[in-house]
C-alpha cells in the first residue's frame, strides 16, 4: 500500500525504544511563491533570513506572553516524553515534545539569553543548551514542526503547562515569514479568503450540492427538509466545515444537522461567503489570518441578519470559535444574548433532546456498537454547555440518546487524555502519509482494544479532519474505511421526522398543523 511499514498494533500503547532520525526525511511540500504571496509572505527564502528569524521570534515573544514563558520554564523533567502520538508511532526522539520545543528553544537561548550569548561567543553554545542558527536547523524545524498536530496532549501532563502547540505555531509563523511556508495550509487559506471555503466551492456549486441533498432526504423520508443558503432573516447561521458539503462521512452529518433544525422549527441558513468553519490561520500560527477568516463570519452574520451562530462538527474550528471568536471578530452584541455565542451543534441537539422535542428510533443504529473519538481541539481547547467537561459529556449524551450500544475506549485515551487522529494541525495532506499512518497508531490501538474486548464496530467523531484522516488510515490497520461516522449521521438515521412514514406518534397530526 505504501513505501513504509505500518506499525503493528499492541494490546496497549508501549513506549518504544528510541530510533534516531526515523522521520528526519518527513516534510510537507514547501509553498511556492503563488501560495505564499497571497498571504503576504515572501515567495522564497529571503536573504539574511537568520537575522529575520530572530527578529520575528522576538516579535512573537513580545506579543504572546505564553510563548515567552514556555521557552523559559522547561526543567527537562521528562513528563511529556512519552505523551506524543507521533513519538509513540515513529520512535523518533525529536518527536518527544521536549525535544521538539528544544529545536526552537536552543536558538532562542543562543541569541536572546545572556548564557547563550556568552558561551556562544566562546564557541560552546551547547554547554547551556543553545545552538547556532543555520540552514540545517531551519530544515529540522520545517520537518519536525510539521510532525506536531498541535493537539496539546503533552501540555496536559507537563507540570508547568508548557504548550508545544504554541511553540509549533510560532515556529511555522516564523518560517513562513522568511519564505518557507507549507503548501497545503497556505493554498487552502488563500481559497477560504477569496472564495469563502477551503475547497473553493463557489455559490452555484454549493447550491447544486445542497439541492441534491434535499432530494436525497426527501426520497429517504418523504419529508421536505431544506438546506437553505444565503437566506436573510433566519434565526440561525450555521458555520460548518466545507468538507461537510463535499466528502463522506461528513455529508451524512450535515444531513443530521438539517433534520434537527427542521424538527426544531427554528429557521436557519448557511452562507456562501462564510461557508467554512475551519480556520487554518491557527495551524500556521498567523493571528492576522485567523482574524481575516473570522471576520467573514461576522460579515455574513450581519448581512443575513441572524440572531444566533452555530458551528458544525469541526475540531479546531470549535477551538477558534469557542476560545477566540469574541476577540477576533467581536463584539457580538447584535446577536441574541440568551444563547451561547457561538453555540456548538452538539449543544443545540442536546438541548432539543433535553427539552424532549426530538423523537428517535434508536434501533435504527442497533446494527452497530459505537465508540467516540474525542477530537483534541474540542477536548483540550474548548468547552460545551455550562459544566466542566461538557465538551466530553454532551457529544456522548447525544450519541446515547440515539444509539443503544455504546462503549468508551480506555480512559487514558479519551477525554482530555485523548490521542490525536494523527492528521490534525495542518498535516492532513498526502505528502505526509507516513507520518499520518504512524501517528494514528495509539488511537488505533485504543480502538482495537474496544473492538476486540467489547465488540465495537464503528468510531464516531465531530471533526472534519478526524473523519478524513480515519477514512484514510483505518484500512492500514485492517479496519474498514467506512467504520468512521459523523456524530450527526447517527442522529440523522435515528431521528423520526414529523410527518414521515416512520412517524407513528399520536400527536404527529397536531404537530403538523402547528
Amino acid at each position: 500500500m505504501a513505501d513504509f511499514e505500518t506499525p503493528e498494533l499492541q494490546e496497549y500503547s508501549v513506549v518504544p525504544k528510541l530510533e534516531k532520525g526515523t522521520m528526519a526525511g518527513s516534510a510537507p511540500f514547501i509553498a511556492k511563491p503563488q501560495f505564499q504571496e497571497p498571504l503576504g509572505y515572501p515567495g522564497e527564502l529571503v536573504d539574511n533570513w537568520e537575522e529575520k528569524v530572530i527578529t520575528k521570534m522576538d516579535d512573537l515573544r513580545g506579543k504572546y506572553r505564553g510563548f515567552q514563558v514556555f521557552l523559559d520554564s522547561c526543567v527537562k523533567c521528562g513528563a511529556c516524553t512519552d505523551k506524543c502520538h507521533y513519538y509513540l508511532g515513529t520512535k523518533d526522539p525529536k518527536n518527544m515534545p521536549v525535544a521538539r520545543q528544544d529545536l526552537l528553544r536552543k536558538v532562542y537561548r543562543r541569541y536572546s539569553t545572556f548564557a547563550g550569548k556568552f558561551f556562544g561567543a566562546l564557541g560552546i553554545p551547547g554547554f547551556v543548551g543553545a545552538a547556532d542558527l543555520n540552514k540545517e536547523v531551519l530544515d529540522d524545524w520545517y520537518s519536525y514542526f510539521h510532525q506536531c498536530s498541535q493537539c496539546r496532549r503533552c501540555s496536559v501532563y507537563c507540570p508547568y503547562g508548557i504548550d508545544t502547540a504554541e511553540i509549533s505555531m510560532a515556529a511555522r509563523e516564523i518560517m513562513a515569514t522568511v519564505g518557507v511556508g507549507q503548501k497545503y495550509c497556505n493554498q487552502i487559506i488563500a481559497k477560504a479568503q477569496t472564495i469563502g471555503n477551503n475547497l473553493g466551492l463557489p455559490q452555484p456549486a454549493l447550491l447544486d450540492t445542497l439541492e441534491g441533498l434535499e432530494e436525497e432526504v426527501e426520497e429517504d423520508t418523504g419529508v421536505a427538509v431544506k438546506f437553505p443558503l444565503d437566506q436573510k432573516g433566519c434565526d440561525i447561521l450555521l458555520i460548518t466545515p466545507s468538507a461537510d458539503f463535499f466528502a463522506e462521512p461528513h455529508v451524512d452529518g450535515l444531513m443530521g444537522y438539517a433534520k434537527v433544525f427542521h424538527e426544531s422549527g427554528i429557521s436557519w441558513t448557511m452562507s456562501s461567503s462564510a461557508s467554512e468553519a475551519a480556520n487554518f490561520g491557527m495551524f500556521i500560527g498567523s493571528y492576522e489570518t485567523m482574524r481575516t477568516l473570522s471576520l467573514r463570519i461576522r460579515e455574513a452574520a450581519l448581512e443575513l441578519g441572524v440572531k444566533r451562530i452555530i458551528f458544525g462538527e469541526c475540531g479546531h474550528a470549535w477551538r477558534v470559535a469557542y476560545s477566540f471568536l469574541n476577540t477576533l471578530a467581536g463584539p457580538w452584541d447584535f446577536l441574541d444574548q440568551n444563547y451561547p455565542i457561538p453555540q456548538h451543534i452538539c449543544e443545540f441537539t442536546n438541548d432539543m433532546i433535553e427539552k424532549d422535542e426530538l423523537k428517535f428510533d434508536k434501533s435504527a443504529n442497533d446494527h452497530m456498537t459505537l465508540t467516540f473519538h474525542d477530537s483534541c481541539n474540542v477536548a483540550r481547547g474548548s468547552r460545551m454547555g455550562d459544566k466542566p467537561g461538557g465538551q466530553m459529556d454532551i457529544p456522548r449524551a447525544v450519541i446515547k440518546a440515539v444509539c443503544n450500544n455504546y462503549v468508551d475506549m480506555p480512559n487514558d485515551t479519551i477525554g482530555e487524555a485523548t490521542f490525536c487522529c494523527g492528521g490534525g494541525g495542518g498535516l492532513l495532506t498526502d505528502d505526509l502519509m507516513e507520518l499520518r499512518v504512524k501517528g494514528a497508531q495509539p488511537r488505533m490501538e485504543a480502538y482495537k482494544s474496544t473492538v476486540d474486548n467489547s465488540g465495537v464496530t464503528n468510531l464516531v467523531a465531530i471533526c472534519a479532519i478526524c473523519k478524513s484522516q480515519f477514512t484514510k488510515v483505518l484500512p492500514y490497520y485492517g479496519f474498514g474505511m467506512t467504520d468512521i461516522l459523523s456524530l450527526h449521521q447517527l442522529v440523522s438515521d435515528a431521528i423520526i421526522l414529523t410527518g414521515s412514514e416512520d412517524d407513528t406518534s399520536e400527536d404527529s397530526d397536531t404537530n403538523e398543523s402547528e
Binding site: L199, G200, P204, A205, D208, G212, F246, A278, A464, M481
Partner: protein
C-alpha cells in the same frame, strides 16, 4: 518543474502530478497519468472523467462525492451510484485520483 510527455508534447505537473495549467488538458493526458499509476483506463473510468469535466466546466470545481455518485448512478445504474464502486475504479480516492486524470484541481481542505 516536473512534466509528463504526451504524444511528444510536454505538460507541466505539480509535486503531486496534477496538471499545472488546467486549460492545456487533452484526453490523452488521462491515459498517460493512469499508466504512471500502473492503471489502465476503461470505459467505466471515462464515464467518471467525462462527468468531472462537464461538471467542472459548469461550476469551476470538482463535484462533491454525493453529486458524483448520484450522477454515475443515474448513468450506469443504481448499483454503481456509490463510493464503493468509485473506489474500485480509483483506489487512491475518486475525488483525488479521478480529478487528477481529468485535469481538475486537487480538492483541498479537510478531505
Amino acid at each position: 518543474m516536473a512534466a509528463i510527455e504526451v504524444d511528444g508534447k510536454s505538460f507541466e505537473v505539480d509535486e503531486e502530478g496534477y496538471l499545472e495549467d488546467l486549460t492545456t488538458w487533452v484526453p490523452e493526458i488521462a491515459g498517460v497519468m493512469a499508466k504512471l499509476d500502473d492503471a489502465e483506463l476503461t470505459d467505466a473510468h471515462w464515464e467518471v472523467i467525462n462527468f468531472l469535466r462537464e461538471y467542472y466546466e459548469e461550476y469551476q470545481i470538482a463535484p462533491a462525492v454525493r453529486v458524483l455518485t448520484k450522477a454515475i448512478g443515474k448513468k450506469l445504474g443504481k448499483d454503481k451510484g456509490n463510493s464503493k464502486y468509485l473506489y474500485e475504479l480509483f483506489p487512491y480516492g475518486p475525488g483525488k485520483q479521478a480529478c487528477k486524470y481529468a485535469g481538475l484541481p486537487k480538492p483541498t481542505g479537510c478531505v
